[in-house]
Structures are given as C-alpha cells and as structure tokens.
Symmetry: C2
Subunit: 334 residues, 2 copies
C-alpha cells in the first residue's frame, strides 16, 4: 500500500507528541522520518518508528533534551546531545557547522551522547541547501567484524560526502558494510539473493544469502580490509573530537537494536556559495562524462550518486510512499 506524505508525517508527529515530545521537536523529527521514507530509505523512516517510541519509553531517547555546547574554538564546536532525538540533534549540529562555515569558510561540529540520525544523507542535503559541501559520519553499535576477526566489533558507520548542484545536490551516502541490515532484511523478505557477496556464513565463506549474513552478524566491509580500516578511523576521530563513547562501549550496553544509543557524530561544512555557477557547471560536466561511458555487461544506464533517490522522491511524491501494512497499522496503534 501507499500512503501520502502528509498523512505519514501527521501520524508520526501526533504519536511523538503523545509520547512526550514537545511540539517543535515532534514536528522536526516526524518531518525527517517522512522525508526519509520519501527518499526510499524505508528502513530508517516509518519502519524505524516503533523502535524510536520504544527507546523513548526506556529512557534511551530523551525527546526533549537539546544539544548543549561543551566547547567552542573558532570554527570547531563540541556538543553534548544529552541523549536527545537523534535526527533533530544531528540537524542542529549540521546547522552549526554551516553557520561556522559561513563565518570561517569551513566549520565543524562534533556531537557526542546522541542517538541514531536515521538517514545520514538528510544532513548532506541540508548543508547543500545552505550552499555548503558537507562531510559527515556517525558511529553506531558494533555490527560488523573487524578485518581478520569474526565477532562484530566495529560499526558500519555511514559516511556522507555531498555537494550542492544548482538547487539540488549530488551525494554519496554509504555505510562501511556492503549492505546495511535494512537491505539484508528487505532482500530476505523478498526471497532474493544479494547482487554481490555481502558477508560470511558460519564457516567463514563469502555468501550472497541475506538471511545467513543477518544470522552470523558478519556483513562484508566495503573493500574487505579497507572498509574495516576506514570504519575504525571514523570511530577514533568521532570519539576523540566529541569526547563521547567509542563503538565498543556502545556494544557493552547490550546487543539488541534498542541498545544502540549514546552515539558520536561529526559534521563538517565547507562554504561554496560564492561559486554557485562554476559549481553547477563543473558538476554537470562530470556527470555528463560518466554518463557517456560505454556500458558494462548487463547495464543499460549509468547513474550518478544520489540520482536514484531523486527519482524515488518524485515517484513517491506522485504515487504516495510505499508502506508495509503491518508496520503502518502498528504505528497507528501506538
């Protein structure tokens, strides 16, 4: 079934208020979640909503806490998220990074003790809308093995690189695992194999079976040892800058998805407003060049990063947002 954006937004906003969120936070949080479903990142929009409410009930998310400035040094600020709502805390800190960038050319806000930011790309798009290129990333719970190990002890730590493109943007938004647990679950439910090997089975052999990987908790890092190494550095830099808990400490809170709280994030914005025209020309030319490449075997199109989500946004605006009926009913029953 499909539900229109406004209905999705309204239902989530009302439930957030019902469970104690102030009006402004409920609006901003529900807006972010509805946008996330609109973009096609269903796993981190409506589908994540019951978990958010459950985490509010447990006190892991304190919806009315707001970030507090811990330190400020010119273009670099450190904020304590006080376990507030993850997506609104993150939007607040990207806004700080953008403001610092407008004053200093580049700005950085490091955020600790926060919650899951849902779709990381939202904050890249936010920066682009304000005329800034953005680099940001988050830590998470240990959900991927380090290279050479078989216990999940590092995070899949999504990384975002985004740049304004006219009134729009071009963005890379990707986790350090080849497939997120959300996409493993979608493939498993659809009875599909993964397009490429996505992790290891019990005996340490690569497999394209999403159900097996979800059971072993051994998703494959992108680039094998490379994604593992980059994930570790993202954890180190985020933990050091923010002063928050590293990934392994998040793991000690428990091993259910709801035990993932108290995360660290880094938001960097770089001001490119002064070069809007050249930027659009440069980016347009790069896109034209890659689209002109001869197709690899089995391909009939080359897409630039984030092109697919922009198409999904248009489609979902027109047709409504696809929702799972069981999930939709569960959210309405909250």
């Amino acid at each position: 079934m499909r539900i229109n954006y406004d209905t999705l937004y309204k239902v989530m906003k009302e439930r957030l208020v019902k469970y104690g969120a102030n009006e402004d936070i409920a609006c901003a949080c529900a807006r972010n979640l509805a946008d996330t479903s609109l973009c096609g990142v269903y796993s981190h929009g409506l589908n994540r909503f019951t978990r958010i409410i459950s985490m509010i009930k447990k006190g892991y998310i304190k919806p009315n806490e707001r970030p507090e400035c811990v330190s400020s040094l010119g273009a670099l600020e450190v904020w304590d998220g006080k376990l507030g709502m993850g997506n609104t805390n993150a939007a607040f800190c990207m806004d700080r990074a953008v403001k610092l960038a407008k004053e200093n050319g580049i700005g950085c806000a490091a955020l600790r003790n926060t919650n899951h930011w849902m779709r990381g790309g939202a904050f890249g798009v936010q920066a682009a809308g304000a005329g800034c290129a953005a680099i940001c990333w988050t830590t998470g719970m240990p959900n991927m093995p380090v290279w050479g190990g078989k216990k999940p002890c590092i995070g899949n730590n999504p990384l975002i690189f985004c740049i304004p493109y006219g009134d729009s943007y071009v963005m890379f938004d990707g986790a350090m695992a080849q497939f997120s647990y959300g996409s493993l679950e979608s493939a498993r439910l659809a009875g599909e194999k993964l397009p490429v090997a996505g992790g290891y089975d019990e005996r340490g052999r690569l497999t394209d079976d999403p159900g097996i990987i979800a059971k072993t908790w051994r998703p494959l890092p992108i680039g094998f040892w490379k994604g593992s190494g980059l994930s570790i550095l993202m954890d180190m830099i985020a933990s050091v800058l923010s002063g928050g808990k590293p990934v392994y400490e998040i793991g000690r809170q428990g091993n259910t998805p709801e035990d993932e709280y108290g995360l660290n994030q880094v938001f960097i914005a770089i001001d490119v407003r002064a070069r809007t025209t050249e930027t659009a020309e440069t980016i347009g030319a790069i896109i034209a060049d890659i689209k002109a490449a001869p197709f690899a075997e089995g391909f009939s199109e080359i897409r630039y990063p984030s092109e697919r989500e922009k198409r999904l946004i248009e489609e979902n605006k027109k047709l409504g947002i696809p929702v799972n009926e069981g999930i939709w009913n569960a959210v309405n029953a909250l």
Copy 2:
C-alpha cells in the same frame, strides 16, 4: 637488494638538483620519496623516480614553482600548485591546513594544478605530528570504470583519515580501487593471484588475475557501486573547492602515466592537541578491543590500520630498504 635510507635519499636528491630543482625542494622531495620507500610503498618512492625526472623534462612538473594563494576565507584557503613538485606542494598545503586549524580549530587548504603527491599517508602523518587529525584526498587520471561502465573514467582517488596516537598515529590510507596499479604490478611480477577479486576481464567477469586487470584497465572499486560513488564525490568536491580540472579533463591530456598532471587535492586538519592524553587513551582502548576479537578463519592476527606500515618502517630502518636492482641502476644512471 637493500639500500640504506641515507643513500637512497642522497642519490635522489642529487639527481633532482641535476635536473634543475633548487636545493630546498630537492631535499624535501627526496626526503618524502625515501620515506615512502621506507614505509613499504615502493611503487610511489624510488620506483616512481624515473617517471618524475621524465615529467620534469617534459615540463609537466615544474620543480621550482611554489604554490600561490588564490583566495583565503578565514579557515579555508585555495592554492594554485602551478604544476610544482607534487609531494612538496602537498606538504605545503597540509602545513597551511594545520596552521589554520591551530587558529580556528579546523582548517582546509584546497590545491589545484598540482602533481601526484606520491604517498598520501605522508600528509596524514605530517598533520598527526602537529597534533591534528586529518582528512585529505587527491584526484588522479581516469583509471577506474564508473559503476555500470567499462571505460576507465573516474580516478581511484586515495582518501586518508589520520589521527595522532601518542607520538605516533593511526591512519587509513586507501584508494577507491580494491588494488592500486602498483599492487597489481607487484602481484603480476611475483606470479601471484590477488587475495580477492580485484577487477574485470575482457568479458566483464570478476577476476583475481592482476595481469588481466592491468590490461583491461577495469579495477574493481571498493564496495562496487560505493567506491565508484565516493570517488565521484571526491572529484566533484576537490574540483569545486580548488577550481581545478576534474578527473575527466586530466584524461584528455593523454593516456600514458606521464600525462597525469594538473591534479586537485583537499587537505583538512582538525586540532586535537588539547586532548593528547584522552586521545591516546581512547585510541588505545579501541585498538585493544579490536585486537581481542576472535580470529576469522585463516587469520592469526588482527592489525589496526597502519600497523603494518609501522612494522615495515622498523624493519627497513634496520635492514635497509628493499630495492629492485634494475630500478636502482636506472636511477643512478640518470
């Protein structure tokens, strides 16, 4: 055969002076190249030297040009590398980023019209030595297909994340291709297969044969579509910030390795000096945690990112730096 560091340095320095480099630039360039070989990145140290001299002769590298400031906005500066020596230009710009970070918390120098920086990790280590975390990357010639295409039209664009760790550092330094052309060549010469699939054969099938991949110019991006997407964003952000030529324009200069000149680079430094003790504790604890993970099948050790290069440095300091006799003779004959 092995050659000691001082000899390696001295021979390269003298040749650089012979081919027209000023004393200070020759010293800094040769130091960087000798350090690069010392770290075990042989492909970008001594082994790259004859190409550097050839590019000087062709005028693609102008060894005595120094970066010129194009614009300055608080903590963000843009520099024109004027086709100077790649590794000394890059060191200059990381130094600028560090100085800006010390004044502003975070600093960024974007560099255009420069040359190959050799080992990108050198600039991460440089920032760490000055008490800064670093993020930096470079563009290059088109040497990897975009996802869905079969012509090399994007760069493998190495990305560096580095953080100080006591008197040392921890670093991710990796290209967006699963294997660099340097490591493909090493494996091919040694008659070895790659440890995992590293690219495509003529018919578009994944292969672990390094010789075939070097011929098709179809190395595999890390994470398939993910490494392709991140490479494109790195090109876009570097080109927009620096105002220099995107990767596709580098490709129009020719398709031999020596036609790779006029590149763009981004250097970001973040000041963490004030937190030296906590930083070392946090990083030490993260390392201890990953090293305690149970080994995956076939592994007997878990290394943190950059641990291997630190061991190679110690080994090569003690035993001398392994050099290919033919290459060593060719450099001496210059």
